[in-house]
C-alpha cells in the first residue's frame, strides 16, 4: 500500500506539484492546452504556508477513520476496501460541502468540473492519480520533498 509522504524541509514553494496535478486532471493532459480548457482544471494538492515550518505541500491523507465519509450526505465518498483510499464519486456528489467543512487537513475543495458534456460543482480530493504508477505531483517535485512509498517501508525508516 503506497502513500504520498512529505519531507517538509525540502519544500521550496515552487508549486510544481499543483501545476502537475491540475494538468493530470485536465482533459488534454498537456500544460499548454490545459490552460485553455473550460472549466480550467483544478489541482487536488496545494502548497500551504506555515509560519514555523515554511511552505509544504498537502493533499488527502486517506485517514483510517475519515470524517468526510461520516459527513457525506449523498454517499459519494467512500473507502476502497482493498486499497484503503478515500475516494469520491463525482457523479454522486451534490456539492453540499460538508466534507470540506469537516476535513481536519483542509484538503478537500469545491470546484467546477466537466462530467461528460455537463459542468458541475463537486468536491475534489486526491486519489493518488488512480491511473498512474507514481502520482503526477511526486514526479513533478524537483527536490524530492514529495515521495511515494509503501507505508510499511516508511514506518521502518521512521522507527
Amino acid at each position: 500500500m503506497k502513500r504520498i509522504f512529505i519531507d517538509i524541509d525540502k519544500c521550496l514553494g515552487c508549486r510544481s506539484c499543483e501545476l502537475a496535478c491540475a494538468v493530470e486532471y485536465s482533459v488534454s493532459k498537456d500544460l499548454l492546452k490545459a490552460i485553455q480548457e473550460d472549466p480550467l482544471p483544478k489541482p487536488r494538492t496545494d502548497v500551504q504556508q506555515d509560519a514555523k515550518r515554511g511552505s509544504f505541500p498537502l493533499q488527502c491523507r486517506h485517514c483510517e477513520e475519515p470524517y468526510c465519509i461520516d459527513a457525506c450526505i449523498s454517499g459519494a465518498i467512500g473507502k476502497d476496501p482493498e486499497t484503503g483510499l478515500v475516494v469520491s464519486n463525482e457523479e454522486k456528489c451534490v456539492g453540499c460541502w460538508m466534507c470540506v467543512m469537516v476535513c481536519p487537513w483542509g484538503v478537500i475543495r469545491p470546484a467546477q468540473v466537466s462530467i461528460g458534456d455537463k459542468k458541475k460543482k463537486v468536491a475534489l480530493s486526491c486519489d493518488l492519480c488512480r491511473d498512474r504508477e507514481t502520482p503526477a505531483c511526486v514526479e513533478a517535485c524537483p527536490t524530492g520533498c514529495l515521495y511515494f512509498q509503501e507505508v510499511e517501508e516508511f514506518k521502518k525508516t521512521k522507527a
Partner: protein, 647 residues
C-alpha cells in the same frame, strides 16, 4: 538502455550516444531527462524575478494570484521576460559584431599582423554606403575609417543605423512610422533593461514593440556588421566543397576541434595548422598531420571560407569528445556547454578557452589577443600536437559517417550564380518564382534542443519544403543538420526536390538547400530578401514575398532575437516549441495575430515539423495569390499523380 534513436536521427550521433551509455558518460540528453518535468511557470513565462518583492508567479489556472506583488499581470510579466530574452540575444550577436569590427580596426592600423583585408571590393562597397572617400586612399585607410564608423554605431544615441536603411524603401518608412527603426546597437539593448526594470512600462504591446526595435538592431545592425566585416577581413565566401559529421575526425592525425561563434581566432588557426614547424612536430609525435574540424558557427565560418570540415552541430559537441580522438577542443563564445569540461576529463582531450568573456573553472585558458593571433594559434596547436601521444588507441571510436556538401552561398554569390556569367542579377530567381517553377523560398535556421529528436525537426521540415518546390536557405546548426543528411549536395535535388526546384538546381548546379552561413549570417537572408524585392515583380516589401522562416529546434535567446527581427522585417516565422509566452493570452495573440497588421510578419508555434512546413507553404501560397502570380507550375501534375495513386 538509452533510447538513442529517439534522441537523434543522425547515425553518427546514435553511435556516440550508445558509447556514452556504455561508458556511463553523461550527455545533454541524460541531463534533460533528469530535469523532467520542467517548471511549468517557466515554460509559460509567468514567473517574475525582476525585484525583491518577488519572486512572483501567476497561477495559470486562475485561482491563485493573477498579479505579482507590484500588480504586474501575466501580460506584463511575460512581455518583460521575453523582451529581456531579446536583449540577451541581440547583445550576443552584436558583441560578436563589435569584436569583428575591432579586429578590422587593428588590422587596418597594422596592429594585428595575422589579418589582412581579404575582400577589397566589399570594403569599397561598404565604404561608399558609409559615405567614406575612396579616391587616392590605401585600403588600410579606408578600412580604418570604416571600422571606426561602424564601431561608433554601437554607441550611437540618435539617428538611424546605416545598414537598416538597406531594407526596401517601404519597410524603412514603416519602421520610421512605427518608431522602431533602431537608433544605435547598444542603446536599444540598454533601453530594454530599463523599460523592464521594476515599475517602468507595463503595457505589453509597448514593451514588445521596443523588443522589435532591439531585434532589428541585431539583424540589421550587430549581426549584419559581423557578417559584412567578416567578409572584408576573412574574405567573402564562395561556393566551396566540404565534408561533415563526426567521420571527419582522423585516426592518424592530431584532431583539433574549434567550437563557438567568432571567426577571429579560428581563421588564424586555419593558417597556423599549415605551419611547417608544427607539422614537423606532429610527425615527430607520430601523427600524419593536423586535422581541424568545427562545431557550431565557428565551424560554419571557417567551412565557408576555407572548406574546413564540420564535425557536427550544437548537440554533437559532447559527442565529438566521446570519440576519444580529439586532442584539443578550442572554444570561443556562445553555445558552449559547461559540461564539456567533464566530458573532456573522461579522455585525454584538453579543453581550451580563449575569450576573456568566456572562462570555465579549472580549464586551461589561453587568451586571444588580436595583435598576437598567430602566436596564440600556434601555442594552442602545439598543445594539441603534444597531446597526441596521450591518446589511448583502444579508446578511440570514430563513427564512419562523413557526408559531402557544398557551402558558402551569400547574398552576392549565390544569386550571381543564378544570373549566370553574363550579369550578376536576381532576375532568374524572381522569374522562377513568378512563373511558378519555384513556389517560394524559406529559411530553416536555428539550434538543436533535446526537447526534440536531434536534427529531426530540421530535416523533416527541409525535405517537406523542397519536395513542394520551396527553395530552402539554411544557417547555423540547421545548415549543419542538412549537410549531414546530404541535402547540401546538388544531387539531393533529384532525390528530394519537387520537379520545379529540381529543374532549377539542375540548370544552375546548386543544391536544393543553400548553406548561407553562421547564425549572424541570417543577416544575409535579410539582404537576399531585399534584393529580391528590389529586382521587381514580387511586390514592394519583404512582407509581400512568398517566403517564410522557421527555427524548428530552437533553444537560445539569440534564436528569439532572430525570430523577432524576421517578424519585424515582415516574415512569417515559425518556432517549434513555443517561446515562453503562452501564460499570457494577450501576448500570444499579439505575436501570432496582431503583429501581422502592424509589421506584416507574425509568429506561429508548431512543434511538428511537417505541419509547420505546411503552415509555411500555405503562407507562401497566400502571398502568391495576393501577388496574382501564376499557379505553381508542377502543382497540377503532382495533384493528378496523387489522385491516380489513390485511385
Amino acid at each position: 538502455m538509452a533510447r538513442t534513436k529517439e534522441r537523434s536521427i543522425d547515425p553518427a550521433a546514435q553511435k556516440m550516444l550508445k558509447r556514452a551509455n556504455e561508458e556511463d558518460i553523461m550527455t545533454t540528453w541524460d541531463r534533460y531527462e533528469a530535469m523532467q518535468p520542467q517548471c511549468g511557470f517557466g515554460e509559460l513565462g509567468i514567473c517574475c524575478r525582476i525585484c525583491n518583492m518577488g519572486p512572483c508567479r501567476i497561477d495559470p489556472f486562475g485561482e491563485g494570484p493573477q498579479t505579482g506583488v507590484c500588480g504586474a499581470s501575466a501580460d506584463t510579466i511575460v512581455a518583460r521576460n521575453l523582451a529581456r530574452m531579446i536583449a540577451a540575444g541581440a547583445a550576443a550577436h552584436s558583441d560578436h559584431g563589435r569584436d569583428v569590427a575591432h579586429a578590422l580596426l587593428m588590422a587596418a592600423q597594422g596592429k594585428a599582423k595575422a589579418y589582412q583585408i581579404k575582400d577589397e571590393e566589399k570594403l569599397k562597397v561598404l565604404a561608399i554606403e558609409y559615405g567614406i572617400k575612396l579616391e587616392g586612399r590605401k585600403k588600410e585607410e579606408i578600412a580604418e575609417e570604416l571600422a571606426e564608423k561602424v564601431l561608433s554605431e554601437f554607441g550611437q544615441q540618435h539617428g538611424e543605423l546605416r545598414m537598416a536603411l538597406r531594407a526596401p524603401k517601404k519597410r524603412v518608412e514603416l519602421w520610421r512610422k512605427l518608431g522602431i527603426l533602431p537608433r544605435g546597437v547598444d542603446r536599444e539593448i540598454v533601453e530594454i533593461m530599463h523599460r523592464t526594470h521594476m515599475g517602468v512600462g507595463n503595457d505589453y504591446r509597448n514593451i514588445l514593440m521596443h523588443g522589435l526595435r532591439t531585434a532589428l538592431s541585431d539583424g540589421w545592425g550587430g549581426s549584419m556588421i559581423a557578417t559584412e566585416l567578416s567578409d572584408v577581413l576573412f574574405g567573402s565566401p564562395r561556393p566551396i566543397r566540404g565534408t561533415s559529421n563526426l567521420g571527419v575526425l582522423r585516426e592518424d592525425e592530431v584532431n583539433v576541434v574549434v567550437h563557438g561563434h567568432e571567426p577571429t581566432l579560428s581563421d588564424v588557426v586555419v593558417a597556423a595548422s599549415q605551419d611547417p614547424e608544427l607539422l614537423e612536430l606532429a610527425r615527430k609525435n607520430g601523427a600524419k598531420g593536423i586535422n581541424l574540424a568545427g562545431i557550431c558557427c565557428t565551424s560554419n565560418e571557417i567551412l565557408m571560407r576555407h572548406g574546413i570540415p564540420v564535425a557536427g552541430n550544437f548537440l554533437q559537441q559532447e559527442l565529438a569528445l566521446i570519440t576519444g580522438a580529439v586532442e584539443v577542443m578550442m572554444v570561443d563564445v556562445q553555445c558552449l556547454m559547461p559540461a564539456l569540461a567533464d566530458t573532456a576529463g573522461c579522455f585525454h582531450t584538453k579543453l581550451i578557452t580563449t575569450s576573456p568573456k568566456c572562462k570555465f573553472p579549472q580549464v586551461t585558458h589561453i587568451q586571444f589577443e588580436e595583435d598576437k593571433a598567430y602566436q596564440i594559434a600556434k601555442e594552442i596547436l602545439k598543445l594539441a600536437v603534444e597531446n597526441f601521444p596521450n591518446r589511448k588507441k583502444n579508446k578511440v571510436q570514430i563513427p564512419r559517417e562523413e557526408e559531402n556538401l557544398v557551402a558558402g552561398f551569400t547574398a552576392e554569390s549565390v544569386f550571381n550564380f543564378l544570373g549566370g556569367r553574363f550579369r550578376a542579377t536576381y532576375r532568374p530567381l524572381n522569374d522562377a518564382i513568378i512563373t511558378g517553377r519555384l513556389r517560394g523560398a524559406a529559411g530553416v535556421v536555428g539550434c538543436n534542443n533535446p526537447n526534440i529528436c536531434h536534427d529531426y525537426g530540421h530535416i523533416e521540415m527541409t525535405k517537406e519544403l523542397i519536395k513542394n518546390d520551396v527553395l530552402v536557405v539554411a544557417t547555423g546548426c540547421s545548415a549543419i543538420a542538412s549537410a549531414k543528411a546530404g541535402l547540401l549536395q546538388p544531387e539531393a535535388a533529384l532525390k528530394y526536390a519537387g520537379k520545379g526546384l529540381q529543374e532549377i538546381c539542375e540548370t544552375v548546379g546548386i543544391p536544393p538547400v543553400l548553406h548561407v552561413g553562421s547564425c549572424v549570417d541570417n543577416s544575409r537572408i535579410l539582404v537576399t530578401l531585399t534584393n529580391v524585392v528590389n529586382e521587381g515583380g514580387l511586390g514592394e516589401d519583404i512582407s509581400d514575398l512568398p517566403a517564410a522562416g522557421a527555427a524548428p529546434e530552437w533553444m537560445s535567446e539569440k534564436a528569439i532575437s532572430i525570430g523577432f527581427y524576421f517578424v519585424a522585417s515582415g516574415v512569417f516565422t515559425i518556432f517549434g516549441t513555443p517561446q515562453p509566452v503562452l501564460g499570457s493570452k494577450n501576448v500570444t495573440r499579439f505575436m501570432c495575430e496582431e503583429l501581422e497588421d502592424i509589421v506584416g510578419g507574425k509568429y506561429a508555434f508548431e512543434p511538428d515539423p511537417i505541419k509547420a512546413a505546411h503552415l509555411m507553404i500555405d503562407h507562401i501560397n497566400k502571398k502568391r495569390q495576393a501577388l496574382k502570380l501564376k499557379p505553381v507550375m508542377y502543382e497540377e501534375v503532382a495533384k493528378k499523380e496523387g489522385e491516380l495513386v489513390k485511385a
